[in-house]
């Protein structure tokens, strides 16, 4: 299915960087995995329940060594993730690349790189509600 940027009214500039896939989703991609669907009811930690609250996703990211931080500014040595939500309902996550751009796996769709973290905000994903960071490692996350 072709990617239709009209679904994302703020997405003015983007680069497709990965094929559509039903084998991983945004939160898995944000954590550096391309073989799992991280969501309540799928690949999800035991005891985390089925809530899609921002707090639940904050706890999930903490399992992957992400700590909350203040913004999405590029910081040397740190890998950042932005969590998007509508109200308190988590909708999407994007990961910052070494370049300062952001990479998003669009549901079952393609992977895109977008310069502005806010450009996938809108009716589908809501707004960025929280930023997280973890130390970059040599083996880190594929770009």
């Amino acid at each position: 299915m072709a990617f239709d940027p009209a679904e994302f009214p703020n997405l003015k500039t983007y680069t497709p960087t990965g094929d559509a896939s039903d084998e991983y989703n945004c939160i898995a991609h944000a954590c550096g995995h391309d073989d799992r669907w991280n969501w309540p009811g799928r690949h999800w930690p035991k005891g985390f329940g089925s809530s899609r609250s921002v707090r639940t996703f904050k706890n999930f990211l903490a399992l992957h060594r992400f700590e909350q931080c203040g913004d999405g500014a590029l910081e040397e040595g740190w890998e950042k993730v932005a969590l998007y939500a509508t109200g308190d309902t988590a909708q999407h996550a994007a990961r910052q690349l070494n370049s300062g751009e952001w990479t998003s796996k669009m549901g079952h769709g393609i992977v895109i790189t977008h310069p502005d973290v806010h450009s996938v905000e809108g009716p589908k994903y809501g707004k960025v509600v929280m930023y997280f960071r973890r130390k970059r490692t040599v083996t880190a996350t594929p770009s």
């Binding site: 039903d22 991983y24 969501w39 009811g41």
Partner: protein, 126 residues
């Protein structure tokens, strides 16, 4: 001489309407399959950009497909093979089976493999 309507001989052509009348069940199945294709296409389009499994499996078209019951199983397996997508809850709901090993839940490639294996063992071609 008895007339075999399923295998017309020579130039004898059986009108399609007569064939449909002779096999109303097949016609009904074709209509149901066309409805499945329409609902599945709508479901793929309207859930393409979400990661939210709960939204994906609560989509109205998805629920209507579950309500189709067992006849939809081969169509779901076909769509799973050609288009992918999270058909796992629908297959479980319809068949009452859970062929995916606990440690494989959340790994779509393994989940698909388990369902294709199940389909093969139960006589479904996908």
């Amino acid at each position: 001489m008895a007339l075999n309507v399923m295998e017309p001989q020579g130039a004898l052509q059986i009108p399609e309407a007569l064939l449909a009348w002779l096999s109303p069940d097949a016609e009904e199945v074709r209509a149901d399959e066309a409805e499945f294709d329409r609902l599945a296409d709508q479901w793929h389009r309207e859930t393409e950009f979400t990661s939210a499994t709960d939204e994906i499996v609560c989509h109205p078209g998805y629920r209507r497909i579950i309500a189709m019951g067992e006849p939809a199983v081969p169509w779901i397996l076909r769509d799973l093979r050609s288009n992918g997508g999270d058909w796992f809850d629908a297959l479980e709901a319809i068949t009452g089976e859970s062929p995916v090993a606990g440690e494989d839940v959340g790994y779509p490639r393994r989940m698909k493999a388990a369902w294709f294996e199940w389909g093969k063992a139960h006589g479904y071609e996908a």
